[in-house]
Assembly symmetry: C2
Homo-oligomer: 206 residues x 2
């Protein structure tokens, strides 16, 4: 099986539990590395530079684009978000699979540049369940709920650009399913061309 790590893009509905899922994956399996995005948005309370994001100035971010230090970047609501190249490539070269938790714009750019990347979309088991999670504990205004549902409907439009859907019903099962999808990706013929070439040449050399 291929020894180079692969790129895994994880997107999904807000409220699908992506963060919890990835955290559980990293705790259970130790061959995965989580990429940390750079952003120009301000840190929120409790966020730490280098943990949730690398918080950088707009000038710094534009310099990173200029110097091709990012493998993808996108703009949301007047802020830049991007994936620093060096960490990702280093981890992959070391044989680790790298997880990017990014949104669809970035996901599509990754797929274009790295066709072997694995694009996963995380969803609750049903729209009703998603609504329940978005509506929350009855403390939200109707306006906020409507915004969230509207955003989820938009997010749903992008699902068909992904390779697999991961239904997050029971967390443990979802962790296993994600792990298995990644292991499967290592068995792709297109990721094992060296092995195949070697086999061919050794079989012909008789």
């Amino acid at each position: 099986m291929s020894e180079q790590g692969i790129l895994i893009v994880v997107s999904g509905f807000s409220g699908a539990g992506k963060g919890t899922l990835i955290k559980a994956m990293l705790e259970k399996y130790h061959n995965y590395a989580l990429s940390i995005s750079a952003t120009t948005r301000m840190p929120r309370e409790g966020e730490k530079d280098g943990r949730e994001y690398f918080f950088v100035s707009r000038e710094k971010f534009e310099q990173m684009i200029e110097e091709e230090q990012l493998i993808e970047h996108a703009r949301y609501v007047n802020n830049y978000y991007g994936t620093p190249r060096q960490y990702v490539f280093q981890q992959m070269a070391d044989g680790r699979d790298v997880i990017l938790e990014i949104e669809i714009q970035g996901a599509l750019k990754i797929k274009e540049r790295f066709p072997e990347a694995l694009l996963l979309f995380v969803t609750p088991p049903s729209a009703d369940e998603l609504k329940r999670r978005l509506v929350g504990r009855g403390t939200e205004t109707m306006e906020v709920i409507r915004q969230r549902l509207h955003r989820a409907a938009e997010e749903a439009e992008g699902i068909t650009s992904y390779d697999y859907i991961l239904i997050n019903d029971k967390l443990e099962d979802c962790v296993e399913a994600m792990h298995q999808l990644i292991q499967a990706q290592h068995r792709r013929v297109s990721g094992n061309l060296d092995f195949i070439e070697q086999m061919k040449s050794e079989l012909s050399a008789v």
Copy 2:
């Protein structure tokens, strides 16, 4: 996840242990069905009609082609081999995943007609190991050995048409890997469009 069964094509080097692998899969997991091919070749000793193959006359086979009773067929060394449609479709409709053990010609036809089919190629862990298995216990003539290696080299040319390679080193591990690849296929976005459509329409209906 999709409830309709999927088609799984298993090919691989002679000597890779496909038969043993599939038998172990069917014993361990009960959601798989094995398709039995029809052929015009004569039964070998110990082979039973309806177990290894459906043995039919050339006239009968050509009638089956005519009446589109086969989802693929191919000719090898003057004999026809083909996959009867009815059993496959019935099992898939019942939600069972159907395994076809066929060669590359048939595999490519399946992929063309059923793009969602999963094409697996089974290989020993190395060319040396394959050679050892092909050479056997020292009882074969050099001529037979040369023929087998030549055939393996030909088979290797086709690997890149498959989706995944399955390295058959330890049987139990290989059974698990195959099971996981099939489970992963059920999570493909393209096989879950109904779920996605329903999600979208329910989220928009607010």
